[in-house]
């Protein structure tokens, strides 16, 4: 077992971490909004945690708080990401359609250029030698794991609550939702902010886990990867991002023998999945189940 965790611990934690990032897209999508900002907030959160853990200025804080500096970093990352998300989200979300996606692409790019040029973020080199919270990679499951559980509970409750229903109504038909008394801008911004806070916190947790942090953490490519997790897993089910995140982030590992060709296969997976699995894997499983119960009468439960 120890040997197994030695070899695969990093991968296992990465799968959880990537799934969490998938959820950061899932919440805006629940309100029908495509946000590609997650890598931006993820990078930002990571920088915040990395700076708090390494910068001279925070040395007295570190001495006073000990390991408490880490949770404080998560909190700071969450709050700052949330505030920034409000500033980015409000102008873009007053509008219907594709504007949020475009604004978030712009946000990620601007942030990336800024981080590449500031001294505090270490410029192009980034920040390295970030102090560790745990001794082994695998132990980071104790930060990412509980966060995932929390997010799963949150998704479950959200789906069955007033706010979650407002999200879904906007996704289904923004105009009709408006006519039914739901303020679309408000709930779209809320959904976007939830995703941003989550991405920020995951970033803050990831900085010590990955040991180094630089502007490559937040790129457009990462946005696409997270989007693929959600859509291929299933954007209409709370299990979709988890399933998609785990499967797709394990895929490069499985395809490792293919070397350079594996990114080509990644792309093909995206194309085929969007064409043949429009509801994602969870949706496809659901329709198969419906088919077997309704058409074949297998496993039909009594009312």
């Amino acid at each position: 077992m120890d040997q197994f965790l030695q070899n695969y611990g990093f991968l296992l934690v990465t799968l959880v971490q990537q799934s969490l990032l998938a959820y950061s897209l899932y919440f805006p999508l629940m309100a029908g909004q495509l946000s590609l900002a997650s890598p931006g907030f993820y990078a930002l959160g990571g920088y915040i945690a990395a700076i708090m853990a390494t910068a001279e200025y925070f040395a007295p804080w570190r001495d006073a708080l000990g390991w408490g500096i880490f949770p404080l970093g998560w909190l700071a990352a969450g709050i700052i990401s949330g505030i920034l998300a409000l500033l980015v989200g409000i102008p873009a979300l007053r509008l219907r359609g594709i504007y949020l996606a475009l604004a978030t692409i712009a946000f990620v790019e601007i942030l990336r250029v800024i981080c590449l040029n500031l001294a505090i973020t270490g410029g192009a080199i980034g920040i390295f030698g970030i102090p560790q919270l745990f001794e082994s990679r695998w132990s980071y499951i104790w930060t990412f794991g509980p966060l995932l559980l929390l997010i799963l509970c949150f998704s479950y409750r959200l789906d069955r609550s007033r706010v979650g229903r407002a999200f879904k109504a906007i996704r289904e038909d923004e105009l009709a939702a408006d006519a039914m008394g739901i303020n679309p801008t408000r709930y779209k911004v809320l959904a976007f902010v939830i995703g941003a806070v989550l991405a920020g916190v995951v970033g803050a947790m990831s900085a010590p886990f990955l040991n180094t942090w630089n502007a490559r953490q937040g790129t457009f490519d990462a946005s696409i990867a997270y989007l693929a997790y959600v859509l291929i897993g299933g954007s209409r089910s709370m299990w979709g991002p988890l399933l998609g995140g785990i499967m797709l982030s394990a895929l490069p590992e499985i395809l490792r023998p293919l070397k350079d060709a594996r990114l080509i296969i990644n792309g093909l997976v995206l194309v085929f999945a969007s064409i043949y699995l429009p509801q994602g894997i969870v949706g496809a499983v659901g329709s198969i189940r419906n088919f077997t119960t309704q058409t074949l009468g297998i496993g039909r439960s009594e009312k």
Binding site: L158, K168, A179, M180
Partner: protein, 254 residues
């Protein structure tokens, strides 16, 4: 009887087209008010102006003396104005029950965190939402299909579900845009009775757009006739039926 809703010289232009032109009328509390007119007369546009989906070009709308014009749709809905759509805009990917729950948004308060933690007040509220949703489903006779997606319902059932969704707002006024479209004559008869019943039960004021003239004549207390965006006449069915301009508008349009 008191005036509930009042339109004063309401206008809406689309480019050069005057879709609604200087329309003035009043709707009394508790009445069933019909809106008729040939295709393209501006009936649906008028509904959209009243619910804020289309901004007015000029003119004023008042509800109980408060100005509605300029408010976004959700603020208007929150004042107790519910509606249905000509081309049915249910939340198709949600279940029938959820469609009705969604519309109870304005009468409930629970937020993100109280919903997550399941605070006592949010639990009480959620229970009330659930009960009311079932009640309204039963009212339109769809309670045995509560979990089905709205998209899977027949056209007539979707229309009924949409009315139930509008009622979930606890409205004082409902605007029904062609509720009888696609129904056969016995269904239309049933619909008339249903509209009267909900009016009495929920103390509603009903505005409706309808093409089927006999239905309107039977059901409505008063009728407004629009043609080319202008109001030709408002009055009781018998008067309207005799109005020469109305006859001309209809015959001329044929």
């Amino acid at each position: 009887m008191t005036v509930l809703l009042e339109a004063e010289r309401l206008c809406r232009n689309f480019g050069g087209l005057k879709a609604v032109n200087e329309v003035t009328f009043q709707v009394m509390e508790g009445e069933i008010f019909g809106l008729i007119g040939p295709n393209g007369a501006g009936k649906t546009t008028l509904f959209n102006l009243m619910t804020g989906l289309t901004p007015v070009s000029s003119g004023v709308l008042r509800y109980r003396g408060n100005i509605l014009t300029g408010l976004p749709p959700h603020r208007i809905a929150a004042q107790g104005i519910g509606r249905t759509f000509q081309n049915i805009r249910l939340f198709k990917g949600l279940s029938a029950l959820e469609n009705i729950k969604v519309s109870q948004h304005v009468t409930t308060k629970s937020g993100l965190l109280s919903g997550f933690f399941g605070t006592p007040s949010s639990r009480v509220e959620e229970k009330r939402v659930e009960e009311k949703a079932w009640e309204l489903l039963a009212l339109v006779g769809l309670s045995d299909r509560a979990a089905e997606l709205a998209a899977n319902f027949s056209y007539g059932d979707q229309r009924r579900l949409e009315i139930a969704r509008a009622l979930a707002l606890d409205p004082k006024i409902v605007l029904l845009d062609e509720p009888a479209a696609g129904m056969n004559s016995s269904e239309k008869q049933g619909l008339s009775e249903f509209i009267r019943a909900i009016r009495d039960r929920f103390k509603l004021t009903v505005l409706l757009i309808e093409h089927h003239v006999p239905l309107v004549m039977n059901l409505c207390d008063r009728i407004a006739v629009l043609n080319f965006g202008e109001l030709i006449t408002v009055g009781e069915p018998a008067e309207v039926q005799k109005n020469r301009d109305v006859i001309e508008a209809y015959l001329g349009a044929e």
